[in-house]
Amino acid sequence: MIRVFVVEDHALFASGIRNELGDGFAVVGDAATVADAVARIPGARPDVVLLDVHLPDGSGADVIEALGSDGPRFLALSVSDAQEDVIAVVAAGARGYVTKSISPSGLADSIRRVHAGDAVFSPRLAGFVLDAFAGRTPPRIDPELDQLTSRERDVLRLIARGYTYKEVARELHISVKTVEAHVSAVLRKLQLRNRYELSRWASDRRLV
């Protein structure tokens, strides 16, 4: 049984998720604001938090940052928005991003995947990430964080093209586990880049 917590300000959608998630899932709580989510999640002890990108009093990234790295695993969920917002939530530590138009079985599958510690990239997120790494940003100091390996790029491109992980594996003649490893590596780069940028931001302003 996977314990799921829903952070979502649209009550209709939140109750829809409750109904759609079938056997194997228990919705252990919900919240409609950043403040509520930060207050209730530790007590509810969920395995996976479904997190809306936009909340009335902040963003999903705020929830992740407030709960720190020992918190549960997060899966971002929204009616796809601007690239920066989605990237921000994933960079803050969400294990993936799916749009609200995802099918119930697709959502259940994504939650299972996140619970298992894997990353969930929807085609749209893959596109956003490729865009973010497309070299439009000014070069930074650490080239390892600034670039995707060509293999990671291949994997993201196939996901953006609508391939499932299994199809990506078959296309590239690698195992599904390897696909997941590549995707997780991309996620880690995004999050490191985020931390790096934050610390640079802080040191620029002499906060540390």
């Binding site: 009616v79 085609p123 953006a160 093209r161």
Partner: protein, 394 residues
Amino acid sequence: MVSRSANDRVLTGVAGGLGERVGVDPFVVRLAFVVFSLAGGVGVLAYVAATLTFRAPDPDRLATSPRTSTTQALAVGLVVLGVMIMLREAGLWFGDAVVWPTAVAVLGSAVMWTRGNDSERARWSRLWSRLPPDVGDTLSGSGGRVRAVAGGGLVVAGVITFVSSNRPAAGVGGAPLAVAASMLGLGVIGGPWIMRLARQVAEERRERIRQEERAEMAAHLHDSVLQTLALIQRADDVRDVMVLARSQERELRSWLYGRRRARDGKLLSAAIDDLAEDVERTHRVRVDVVLVGDCALSDRVRALTDSLREAMVNAAKHAGVPALSVYIEVEPDAVTAFVRDHGVGFARERVSADRRGIADSIEGRMARNGGAGVVVSEPGRGTEVRLRVAREDA
């Protein structure tokens, strides 16, 4: 650090900013500058110095011009008086006959036009509600009519004293001087009112602009979102609802996130938006578009979008699935596009030779434009169409 005021300004907003900061009606500050200017031009110098050293105004902040209590006004007056006596002793002075009458006239103006604080206002506003708003506001400040009469009297007294004590010194004859002094006196009495009126007009204009923006937003929501919601309530087919919702979502997002940019078809992203919307509407499928990068719509890129349309329509018609994925990437030297579905798929050799869609519209067209079009399909495993053209502008 004091900043100049963005909207409460006569010259550069120094007095407005200072008044806001100290909590005194900027009008009082302005008068202080005027009086100091008589003392050997000290006020002018101070004003210039303040203009140079104060921070530039912050246009986003709306000035809340503070209301001054009688005590505060009195305090500012006494400070001014003290500094004037000091300057007089120091010799920075245009002469008693000029300075004192002017100071009296300016004091009269201050008595008339300084706005009272809120509690005083409330007491009087009921009595003066029949006056035109601005005059009523001013006169109801503190002592109403008494203030107006006393201030006006002081101004007149100042002008008369000025004229009578300067006649011998002027030498040229009193008439022009008296006329000029009277004009100045009228200016001191009526000037602030005219200024306040002008500011009110400016504020009303700003408010009107804000309202127009709101109205534009409302009009847009009405034309698009509300109409679609009405249509959705009348639709009984789930697919219809889905198509309506999707096209509305697409439209609203492009409006919100700036893809509102000239939809004249000059950019690939705009063309793709239109294309996807069109296919969704006509063939009732969901098209998930992921676009990385953007570029101008050259002839070759246009050929690519034409082939893309053919591929999307094929998938919508034959794949038998409710959704297809489209991925387009603009690379430095080429544009690639993929249409993927998880539908029935097909074997190429079993497509009859008279069906020319793939050969002509996809493979042929891409080859003619210096690119390549490939259709990969397998029964039961879906189909992918891969398109690529080189960019002419690269």
